[in-house]
């Protein structure tokens, strides 16, 4: 991989990225706030699963599928905030503390530093998501429930992807913010917009403007949290009928490729913000 720093091209080495990633992972998982997130996520996941399992059905799901369905709303709220906050603090926080300058005083390129920080945080988010879904899966298995493991694993994976997409968005914010406090403030605002205002705003706009179902569906996809929710619903029930006309429109238009299309949108969210953040970090004049 080559990186453009101003007008300069320097070759990046995977080994340097991995060294930085290991240090970032170690630093993140040894921090108190990270474990506060994990404990909150794991605790809420365990409670939700214990509450959900005895009930007769959730959206017609059974076994692990029911467990996964009960976790989707929790993931929609907690995981984006975790990814956004981690990303927002990454570059701005290290720049503010001087850690970034110390790192960049070594023979590493900006590309290596950026992707090292990113990969380390991706792994940390994997641990957080893995812990939440792992405990939920364990509780489910201990209750003697079986079946529906595939959607459960798929939703666990897409939850991690959502976290990583939000990490990229957070890092993009971080590369623009002068201070870590500003980055965190913007990240929380973005989280509110994506998780709450996005959903309610879309519904309100659709009702007020008689928005066509096609536009409603496309607008929903513009929100990565919605893209995750739609991906999860498709994995659980094979359709988006629960969304009403917009879901039926999506199923009619995309047919069997609905799941692939939804995952494609999530994948775009995975890639685009972080690539913009990398370009911004490389082009930034001063660290």
């Amino acid at each position: 991989m080559t990186a453009i720093t101003g007008n300069v091209v320097e070759r990046a080495e995977a080994s340097a990225i991995m060294k930085i990633a290991r240090k970032e992972l170690k630093g993140t998982v040894s921090s108190r706030w990270f474990w506060m997130w994990v404990v909150a996520f794991v605790g809420l996941a365990a409670v939700l699963v214990m509450v959900a399992l005895p009930s007769s059905s959730i959206d017609g799901q059974a076994g692990f599928g029911r467990t996964a369905a009960s976790l989707v709303t929790l993931v929609q709220i907690i995981i984006p905030l975790m990814g956004l906050a981690l990303g927002a603090m990454s570059i701005a926080g290290q720049r503010e503390s001087g850690a970034l300058r110390f790192l960049m005083s070594h023979p590493v390129s900006r590309t290596e530093a950026f992707w090292g920080i990113y990969v380390g945080h991706v792994a940390a988010l994997g641990i957080a998501a893995g812990a939440g879904f792992g405990v939920a899966g364990l509780v489910t298995a201990l209750r003697g429930v079986s079946g529906g493991a595939a959607p459960f694993v798929w939703i666990a994976l897409t939850s991690w992807f959502l976290a990583v997409a939000m990490l990229g968005l957070g890092m993009l914010i971080s590369t623009y913010a002068a201070k870590s406090a500003s980055a965190l403030g913007i990240a929380v605002f973005v989280w509110l917009v994506l998780v709450f205002l996005g959903d309610l705003g879309l519904m309100g706009t659709a009702a007020a403007t008689n928005m066509p179902v096609s536009a409603l569906f496309v607008s929903a996809l513009l929100n990565p949290v919605e893209a995750f929710r739609l991906t999860a619903m498709t994995a659980l029930s094979g359709s988006l009928d629960a969304l009403g006309p917009a879901g039926i429109y999506a199923a009619d238009t995309l047919g069997d490729s609905l799941g692939v299309a939804l995952f494609g949108v999530l994948a775009l969210w995975l890639v685009v913000p972080v690539v913009f953040a990398w370009r911004r970090f490389n082009g930034k004049a001063d660290l």
């Binding site: 720093t5 101003g6 300069v8 320097e10 340097a16 060294k19 930085i20 240090k23 170690k26 630093g27 040894s30 921090s31 290290q94 503390s97 001087g98 850690a99 300058r101 110390f102 790192l103 960049m104 005083s105 070594h106 023979p107 590493v108 390129s109 004049a285 001063d286 660290l287």
Partner: protein
């Protein structure tokens, strides 16, 4: 070894380094001296490629702008403080820094032992005293055995004892033949650390000279507190005033303003007048 030409750095409309130039030959030890905000640290950051700049910087013939990694592989950098890695163990920080330079454990152990950090290796960075943190910073810089060392205010956060210890270590490095570039605003310590001083103010070079000549070049003056028998203090003040010094009496003797290079002259004047100077202190 280090060549800087027409270096200018702006933050917005503020010019922090203004058409600065410097040449540092291999094995030279040079201080960038000046008050806070003079642009010393910014010059270091430009050398490391941490900030954009106008002008030219070359280290060992390599353009710092186009060969940033290669330039940084020649440089060991000691930051002012290492507070940002407070939660890391000393050994982990040293290993991390060494691994980024592709250096093995043996060399890390050697440097840790050389700087007396071996017994502190399992401590967290935050548990170290200011002096030990400074040594840790130095250790991370020395592990790759670099030909160039950049030291940003190496004694700024240290107490007197730790400062003396740091100066002894740095004196040792100076005699190893490394190229040293040190920033400092302590005039008295640059003489111990370097052969040449570049005095900066508002991003420009004010003067370039040997450390001993710096105070004279800049016209810096000092106040001497001469402790005399209290009964002779009034006479001492009159003698010094009569000899052209700006002097005034205080409760323990006389305060006299002298040029930085001629502190002994005031003492000699008093001794010539038969007044014993029991002790003296230099006040800047």
């Amino acid at each position: 070894m280090i060549n800087v030409k027409n270096l200018t750095k702006r933050y917005g409309t503020s010019v922090v380094v203004d058409d600065f130039a410097m040449e540092v030959a291999s094995g030279d030890s040079v201080a960038l001296w000046g008050p806070n905000g003079a642009g010393k640290t910014t010059v270091i950051r430009c050398l490391l490629g941490l900030v954009s700049y106008d002008g030219e910087i070359a280290v060992d013939g390599l353009d710092a702008r186009t060969h940033g990694k290669a330039v940084r592989s020649l440089i060991g950098y000691v930051p002012q403080e290492l507070s940002f890695y407070d939660d890391m163990r000393v050994v982990d920080l040293l290993d991390y820094s060494a691994s980024l330079r592709g250096i093995g454990q043996k060399r890390v152990d050697e440097v840790a032992e050389q700087l007396g950090l071996d017994e502190h290796q399992n401590k967290l960075v935050r548990e170290l005293s200011g002096g030990l943190k400074q040594r840790l910073g130095l250790a991370t810089a020395l592990v790759p055995d670099p030909p160039v060392l950049l030291l940003d205010e190496p004694t700024s956060n240290l107490d007197a004892t730790a400062r003396d210890a740091a100066i002894r270590v740095l004196e040792g490095l100076r005699h190893e033949g490394r190229t040293l570039l040190v920033t400092s605003h302590h005039i008295e310590e640059v003489g111990m650390l370097v052969d040449r001083v570049i005095a900066m103010e508002a991003g420009k070079t004010v003067t370039e000279c040997a450390p001993y000549d710096l105070a004279e070049e800049l016209g810096l003056r000092a106040w001497l507190h001469l402790i005399t028998d209290i009964g002779q203090a009034e006479k001492a003040t009159l003698v010094l005033t009569g000899a052209g010094f700006n002097a005034r009496q205080n409760s323990k003797g006389v305060l006299v303003e002298v040029s930085a290079q001629q502190k002994g002259k005031a003492v000699a004047v008093l001794q010539g007048a038969g007044i014993d100077v029991e002790d003296l202190e230099v006040w800047r």
